[in-house]
Symmetry: C2
């Protein structure tokens, strides 16, 4: 009873809230690709999504967040598993695993890929994607230190997540440049490259 998810239309696959959130994001993305991020107002987005302007802010804290959709975060169980030594026990491999978990929530359809390609042409959105990953990485920093398999001070953990972020950025760049490979695979590829080069 205490946890939500059943009251209302019980058996629908997606809750009404999720549906509205999706409708908002889709509208925002369409408007952004057609007119640019500054080419539409929140009022116009509200009308397009069929909700009140105020409601938009019940779902997303900002316009760019509306375009990007709900924030994803590292699944608690995956995080916990990592903290206690991770799936494989190898730091690099486990970090990669964690990153894929975040990036690869689900296989994108072809339409979605085309849409994403267009959205990635908008610098402020790319920047926002970067920032989101950076926030996740900060959480990771603590987890890495907690795990502590290798001797690792504050600085070392910071360095590690910075490198992770650089790998992510490079993957994003490749995606922007037209590489069709799914993001998790791009990440794995570049992560593997840097591991090989530094070995």
């Amino acid at each position: 009873m205490s946890t939500s998810a059943e009251s209302g239309g019980a058996d629908h696959r997606t809750s009404k809230r999720e549906e509205t959130a999706r409708r908002i994001t889709l509208s925002a993305q369409r408007l952004a690709t057609e007119h640019g991020l500054d080419g539409f107002t929140m009022d116009e987005l509200a009308e397009a999504a069929g909700v009140a302007r105020r409601t938009l802010f019940n779902y997303y804290p900002s316009k760019v967040d509306a375009c990007l959709g709900p924030r994803v975060d590292v699944p608690a169980d995956a995080m916990e598993a990592f903290a206690r030594g991770g799936p494989t026990g190898n730091l690099g491999a486990d970090l990669e695993h964690l990153a894929r978990e975040v990036l690869g929530v689900e296989e994108p359809t072809r339409e979605e890929m085309v849409l994403h390609r267009q959205l990635f042409q908008i610098p402020r959105l790319v920047e926002a994607v970067h920032d989101r990953f950076a926030e996740l990485a900060v959480d990771l920093q603590e987890a890495v230190r907690a795990r502590g398999g290798e001797q690792l001070d504050q600085e070392g953990a910071l360095l590690l997540i910075r490198v992770l972020l650089v790998v992510f950025d490079t993957a994003i760049d490749a995606s922007i440049a037209g590489d069709d490979t799914p993001l998790p695979d791009l990440f794995s590829r570049h992560f593997g490259t840097i591991r090989r080069l530094l070995a």
Copy 2:
């Protein structure tokens, strides 16, 4: 005869030009630490250094460059050695070697260290230092590809120099935070850390 370096006061250790350049930089650094980067004009710097305002720009292209001193670049021979397989043959070790070559031109005196500590409190100077290293890194990117010991495409080389830059930034951060270790050693330490963590 064609190369310079002897006409004028022949046997002095430092040429007159070097001496003037140094005087300018020292004046600029003193003014910057005392009044901030925007706390003095180029006219004032000119007077402090005992040259005409116009002359400053014969030595340095900008105010921040005047504060940082002449640009250092990778010695041609070191670069060449790297390109043909480097001192050790191991990519990581050779990159580190090259970086130390650039960072460790000469041991700083204690006074210089104190001065640098103060200069690092000025964000725009830190940013400029970062940019200088980034430019060197771009040259490195080509050299790395030319060397080609490992299979390495454009993206891979880019990723590598980005990581190098992150290591450098982390070393700078440590220095700013008060770590007295000479910069080359800081770089080596962090570079070693990331190599170990990703192995």
